[in-house]
Amino acid sequence: MPELPELNPVIHGKLRLALLSLLAGVDEAEFTWLRAKTGSTDGNLGAQLLKLEEAGYVSVEKKFVQRKPQTLYRMTETGRAALTEYVQALRQLLGGAIGD
């Protein structure tokens, strides 16, 4: 497997990248909405969101709306900066590939 040293490994995972990209376009999103958009299972989604939370890329808010639990995820400024850097790194690598 070829090495990709310049790409952030936390973001590079497909589901984590999809989650960060989804959160980049909205103010905040419910767990159920993210599950519907990515088509992933509860367990996998929860695990990947936890990794993003531990990296400081997303923040979580748990609350009750009409007595029902609701988990809201927001992208942090660190997460936005990391995604921007990741996209720039991707473009650089692809630019290099075109020149090869």
């Binding site: 070829p2 990709l4 999809a18 990209s21 376009g25 103010d27 519907a36 991707l90 473009r91 590939a97």
Partner: protein
């Protein structure tokens, strides 16, 4: 760099673009609001024409605003899975809210000051609706809404000329195209989108 890696990187970029666009897609329906307000304008025009009551517009618009608010509230209550808010959504809502406030302040002020007349009324309403439709259309890059704004701008200019009857005809025609036809077109697009979502779910 191997072709496999290059393809993988391209797939990642594509995934980012798709997901950002997916996040911004909204399932909320707004086409009916255009039709609703179009009908409300027609009721106010008809009421004023047949009854000559000076408060017909104010009463109809207030009743329409309350009904519209109640319908939106009830729709949101019955729709458990809402789309999350987006910056674009907030920008468009702000434009329409600001337009509503401007009309609510300006038109009664013109009425109370005695400087109100049909031409000024139609020109102001048409220009305000043109600004809101134009700004929304440019944000959404939606040509149909930009076309609707152009019709309103043309109506605003046309309202400055001609007789009272011609002014009314201009207003009625603009409402038909920009509220009724555009609203129905929006409803058709929304229903197509909902059908596509149901297939993918």
């Amino acid at each position: 760099m191997t072709e496999i890696v290059e393809q993988e990187l391209k797939d990642r970029l594509k995934l980012i673009e798709t997901m950002i666009a997916e996040g911004r897609r909204t399932t909320e329906s707004w086409g009916w609001v255009f039709v609703f307000w179009g009908v409300a304008y027609y009721i106010a025009i008809a009421w004023t024409a047949f009854n000559q009551w000076p408060w017909a517009w104010l009463v109809t618009m207030m009743a329409a605003w309350i009904m519209c608010w109640a319908i939106i509230r009830s729709k949101r209550k019955n729709q458990p899975k809402q789309s999350p808010g987006t910056t674009i959504g907030r920008a468009i809502y702000s434009i329409w809210a600001a337009m509503g406030v401007s009309l609510c302040l300006l038109l009664p002020a013109l009425g109370f000051s005695g400087r109100f007349n049909q031409h000024v009324f139609v020109a102001i309403v048409a220009a305000m609706l043109a600004v809101a439709n134009g700004a929304s259309g440019m944000i959404l890059r939606w040509k149909a809404q930009i076309a609707s704004a152009m019709v309103w701008w043309a109506a605003a200019v046309a309202a400055c000329f001609g007789s009272d009857n011609q002014c009314t005809v201009v207003f009625v025609v603009a409402i038909f195209f920009c509220q009724i036809v555009f609203g129905i077109y929006g409803m058709i697009l929304e229903s197509r989108l909902r059908r596509q979502e149901a297939v993918h779910a």
